[in-house]
């Protein structure tokens, strides 16, 4: 049974799998199940954590966790949507130490609060950068704010 089928069998209908090609697979997973799935991929399937990407989209911040399965020439990407305006997410840094720095970067650039992170401080931005200003967010207007927060 190949890797993607193993994941499908274990997590069943909690996830949605999209196999774009034989080398790239994208899995949509709800916020609550993401850590279990990441633990399974990192510890049981022995994948390598490559990096995480944060993107600002209308419904919320989309975080992509990219895992490399080197022995199978495959990249598995977990897609997690963190809704506005709460913007909280569990930290992965206790099971995968490699996520420590990238969670700090997503926090300062997009404003996502990673609960349980040991050191959620500034990484790249200068010390005198204003709090509450997130460079990677797309520009929104005051008039849209009410609509976005009621979603």
């Amino acid at each position: 049974m190949n890797i993607v089928e193993q994941i499908k069998e274990k997590f069943g209908d909690k996830i949605k799998v999209f196999e774009r090609s034989s080398k790239r697979t994208y899995i949509d997973v709800p916020k609550e199940e993401a850590k279990d799935l990441a633990r399974y991929i990192f510890k049981d399937l022995k994948a390598r954590f490559s990096i995480a990407t944060g993107t600002d989209t209308r419904p919320g911040i989309e975080i992509l966790y990219h895992f490399a399965l080197d022995k199978h020439n495959l990249f598995v990407t977990l897609r997690v949507l963190v809704k506005k305006p709460e913007l909280t997410m569990e930290t992965f840094s206790d099971i995968i130490p490699a996520t420590n720095w990238i969670e700090r970067e997503i926090h300062e650039m997009l404003g996502v609060n990673f609960l349980g992170h040991p050191n959620l401080t500034r990484l790249l931005l200068p010390d005198d950068w204003k709090e509450g200003e997130y460079p990677f967010r797309k520009k929104t207007f005051e008039s849209e704010k009410e609509y976005l927060e009621n979603k």
Binding site: L125, P126, D127, D128, W129, P135
Partner: protein, 138 residues
């Protein structure tokens, strides 16, 4: 007396390299100028490690918000008179980084630049020519 000083300055300038946030290519080309192929030491030029010993300052890179304070402070430590040579397109005019949110001001609004050496990166020969041109200004 002043002519004696000028002669000393020209004969063996001590060069100090001050980098703001650069991509390091200009820095590597400057160090290449030290190596046997180009060898600026035969001109009497010496690369020093402390700004207080420098006659000529070579600046490279763009200045971002984090490094502007230390940059200005280091420049103030260099004794006057001195010459400033800006190498690389980033130091001359901010290159393509002028749209960045972390970019502050072009280099010549922070320190007074005497010679501009454009290029990305400028070859070691161009850097040496730039320093020589700066010396001729005296």
């Amino acid at each position: 007396m002043f002519n004696l000083f000028k002669w000393g300055f020209k004969k063996s300038p001590w060069v100090y390299h001050l980098a703001a946030s650069a991509c390091n290519n200009c820095d590597i080309e400057l160090l290449d100028a030290l190596t046997p192929k180009h060898d600026i030491e035969r001109f009497g030029m010496v690369l020093v490690g402390s700004p207080r010993h420098a006659d000529i300052i070579i600046v490279s890179g763009i200045v971002n918000r984090q490094s502007i304070e230390r940059f200005k402070r280091t420049y103030d430590q260099v004794p006057k008179p001195n010459l400033v040579v800006a190498i690389g397109a980033c130091a001359c005019s901010a290159n393509m980084f002028r749209d960045s949110y972390n970019f502050v001001k072009p280099m010549d609004e922070i320190v007074p630049v005497d010679v501009y050496v454009p290029g990305c990166p400028p070859k070691p020969e161009a850097i040496i020519a730039g320093i020589v041109k700066a010396l001729e200004k005296l």
